[in-house]
């Protein structure tokens, strides 16, 4: 499998790796995928009082494309509102990283991770 230079760049220098402290304010977590399928993504968003995503962190178990997709997403969501973040589509991720057809599921998983994190935020702030 040959990777695009962008995938390799994100894989070798992943952006925003890590987790937020367990009792930090405004944290939403989305965990998608399954070990059985060979990929699990954890995306965390730090949402300010104004509803803007101030920071994002990820951890991913998966192939290079899965790591690159989630790394890219942490860059893209920063500065966006939750609704704007939801507008990020897997096709944009796949296009940006030049993912081959067999790796499209990695971009879908990254989109799902955003959705899951936003849903987690809305659940926590439903009141």
């Amino acid at each position: 499998m040959s990777y695009s230079t962008k995938v390799i760049d994100h894989y070798e220098n992943p952006r925003n790796v890590g987790s937020f402290g367990k009792d930090e304010e405004g944290i939403a977590t989305g965990m998608v995928g399954a070990p059985a399928c060979g990929d699990v993504m954890k995306l965390q968003l730090k949402v300010g009082k104004n509803g803007i995503i101030e920071d994002a962190k990820f951890k991913t178990y998966g192939c290079g494309s899965a790591i690159a997709s989630s790394s890219l997403v942490t860059e893209w969501v920063k500065g966006k509102t939750l609704d704007q973040a939801l507008d990020i589509k897997n096709t944009q991720i796949a296009e940006e990283l030049a993912l081959p057809p067999v790796k499209i599921h990695c971009s879908i998983l990254a989109e799902d991770a955003i959705k899951a994190a936003v849903a987690d935020y809305k659940k926590k702030h439903a009141e």
């Binding site: 060979g38 178990y61 998966g62």
Partner: protein
């Protein structure tokens, strides 16, 4: 100086030994005759070379040269052996086939094809160490079992099946016993004068010979007959038609001659390197060896590094050429069926790396590999949410995953 990348994938293929390549070259331009040409010296010298090579291949496994049939490789040998014997003897013996779930696809797909043609098949599930037991084999055989096929050495995990014992049982049952020995030649002694094996498949390129050539051993006493799968000029006593590729055959003969003469010392050296690698990775937390370590060829180490996905690990260690049991590259996302058959969890199967060492592997290369693995695994585990959960004391089996 260390030359990168380092090749540790000798079970995928081996380089042609330079001594083998030297022997092959004259048979391309100068001595190009067709071994089947009986009317002139070009043919005679080619035929002589082919027969010498046949003796060399037979000698490695203590067989009679007349029992060796040239094929294009182990895949063709497996097809010819299993289909050829099943079709020939189905009428007299029956239409049941026994094999093992961890066989190479060249065997499994051949048996599947026979199932489509009306045969029945039993796939023995190995023990967690990758081996099948004599009792399992006995239980699988039926009165109408026409062919049983069990590999000598597994290509992924390197375990050695008890083919001597299995052969006795198959013979007593009147079942034709086929052994895929593609991964065994030059790695372990094979004595067909003693083994109750009726058909055995060989490949040249796993043993420092060229690609595109292999052989099938077909026992003469008692005589085993096959229905040809390739029809034509009646070469190889009608069992496999097609002009013999003299240079390939000469290469396979020389490769097997070298294997016979050097395997004892070579395997000791490779075993030491393999054990050095094993020792070097064993202190990495959550590392599991796949397959039995005692009943195993000396050059194979298959390890799962838990919580790190195999393909991303391959990317991280791109200075070494190895293969992974993860199948993230394929559309199916199914990890290695061999590791799954051993009862390994999906994540351990996805996290496996196969290291296979060989004739040209050095101690320096192994030490480099050990250091690289230590460096990169730490980095990838920092990236892994599963590692984080494990470190937080969460049992991953209790997590409700959203499979996709």
């Amino acid at each position: 100086m260390l030359k990168l990348p380092i090749y540790l994938d000798y079970s995928a293929t081996t380089p042609v030994d330079p001594r083998v390549a030297d022997r092959m070259i004259p048979w391309l331009v100068e001595k190009f005759g067709n071994p089947a040409s009986r009317s002139h010296a070009f043919g005679w010298e080619a035929e002589k070379a082919v027969e010498e090579a046949r003796e060399q291949v037979a000698a490695l496994v203590n067989a009679d040269p007349k029992e060796i049939i040239w094929t294009s490789g182990a895949t063709e040998s497996n097809n010819l052996a299993i289909k050829g014997a099943a079709n020939f003897y189905a009428g007299t013996k029956g239409k049941h086939i026994v094999t093992v779930a961890t066989e190479h696809k060249a065997v499994l797909d051949t048996v599947k094809e026979l199932e489509r043609q009306g045969f029945e098949a039993t796939y023995i599930e190995p023990q967690p160490n990758g081996l099948i037991t004599v009792d399992q084999f006995k239980a699988a055989l039926r009165k109408d079992t026409v062919v049983a096929s069990v590999m000598a050495v597994n290509n992924e995990i390197g375990v050695i099946q008890p083919i001597a014992e299995l052969g006795e049982i198959a013979r007593a049952n009147g079942t034709i016993f086929h052994v895929d020995a593609a991964q065994a030649t030059g790695k372990m002694p094979l004595d067909l004068a003693k083994l109750k094996v009726d058909l055995m498949s060989f490949s040249a390129h796993k043993t420092y010979g060229p690609k595109g050539i292999g052989a099938l051993y077909v026992r003469r006493k008692p005589r085993i007959r096959l229905e040809a799968q390739m029809h034509g000029g009646g070469h190889e006593r009608g069992m496999r038609s097609g002009t013999l590729p003299t240079h390939q055959i000469v290469g396979m003969g020389e490769a097997f001659r070298i294997a016979r003469e050097e395997m004892a010392t070579e395997n000791e050296r490779i075993r030491m390197l393999r054990d050095r690698l094993l020792k070097g990775v064993q202190d990495i937390e959550e590392t599991y060896v796949n397959g039995d370590l005692d009943h195993r060829v000396p050059h194979n180490l298959n390890v799962s590094f838990n919580f790190v996905e195999g393909e991303s690990l391959l990317m991280a260690i791109k200075d070494i050429a190895v293969s992974s049991g993860s199948a993230c590259t394929s559309a199916s996302l199914e990890p290695s069926y061999v590791l799954r058959a051993l009862g390994r969890s999906d994540e351990l199967a996805h996290s496996s790396i196969r290291f296979t060492l060989g004739r040209f592997t050095t101690e320096e290369e192994i030490d480099f590999t050990i250091k690289l693995l230590h460096d990169k695994l730490g980095k990838l585990r920092e990236l892994s949410p599963l590692w984080e959960m494990y470190k937080d004391g969460i049992d991953l089996n209790t997590v409700q995953w959203a499979a996709h």
